[in-house]
Amino acid sequence: MKKVSFRNDILPLKNELYRLALRITLNPAEAEDVVQETMIKVWNRRDRWEELESIEAFCLTICRNISLDKMKKAENQNSSLEEGHDSADYSYSSNPEEQAMQRDRIAVVRQLIDNLPEKQRSCMQLREFEGKSYKEIAQILGVTEEQVKINIFRARQQIKQQFIKTENYGL
């Protein structure tokens, strides 16, 4: 295993970590905190860097775990709004004015992704945005490759259906 340098190998991952954290927490300020905590945690385990197969996967795993922790804490603090709506319909299709404002389809897609369950969201983020293989994603999330495939399949199906639905609704 080659020598790992914090400045050259780990710090440049910050935006990738940020995107994953943002995808999970859905809150930019929170995401930045997560990345910061991730960096410090990774730094504190620097004696283990040489043993790791992939420092990137290691960082992403830590980043996801911290994000999930934050989410849990946030959920404890206020009653969950998540439970009721099942990502089927969102405000942009209920209010005509808002609908007009949110014509931007990309924003719609983003919203659709953000409405997916966390696991599917993380899988989508790593696959579609970061271009990771199923194997890498499985390693990062600590699940089997098969589960990753299922999650991505479901996520894509959901996005496709919801997207077509909103498109038809809009017309």
Partner: protein
């Protein structure tokens, strides 16, 4: 242009059977400007693939600086400062050693003409003195280099 291939790719994409390479082909395809000849059943998904290509890069240099500060660039800086601070002392010690040696050496020649044997003994003594002085200086230097492992931390940061 034939869009069958793209259509097939899309079909397999929804089933989760595309490879990373094929997915990047799809993304490249949809990142081209909109043309009316692209069939509607392909065109409609453009937003999904365009969306996936947009990557935010919100964290800049100031974030790096903050992290580096937090992970303790500071202690590394301190060890360097300590060494720098002691440097003049080493220099002073070296100068004193040189002066002492030269001083002894300068005194020696006056005695030599009186009695060669005595002069030889004296010279030997002086040599022994100089060796003593040098060993103490070396010992100081050695104790200094023992602090070196503290610097190891900085190599992680290279």
């Amino acid at each position: 242009m034939d869009y069958k291939y793209i259509e097939q790719l899309l079909e397999r994409y929804w089933e989760g059977e595309t490879t990373l390479q094929e997915e990047s082909i799809l993304r490249t395809f949809f990142s081209q400007p909109d043309t009316p000849e692209i069939p509607e059943n392909i065109q409609r998904y453009r937003a999904i693939f365009v969306c996936e290509q947009q990557k935010e890069e919100p964290l800049g240099e100031d974030f790096d600086a903050r992290i580096l500060e937090q992970i303790g660039e500071a202690p590394v800086a301190k060890t360097i400062m300590l060494k720098d601070r002691l440097m003049p002392l080493f220099k002073a010690a070296a100068i004193v050693a040189i002066i002492l040696t030269l001083g002894n050496a300068a005194q020696a020649p006056w005695d030599i003409w009186e009695d060669p044997r005595e002069a030889y003994v004296k010279a030997q003594e002086q040599l022994a003195d100089t060796v003593n002085v040098l060993t103490t200086i070396q010992a100081e230097n050695v104790s200094d280099t023992i602090q070196a492992p503290a610097k190891e931390k900085s190599t992680y940061l290279e």
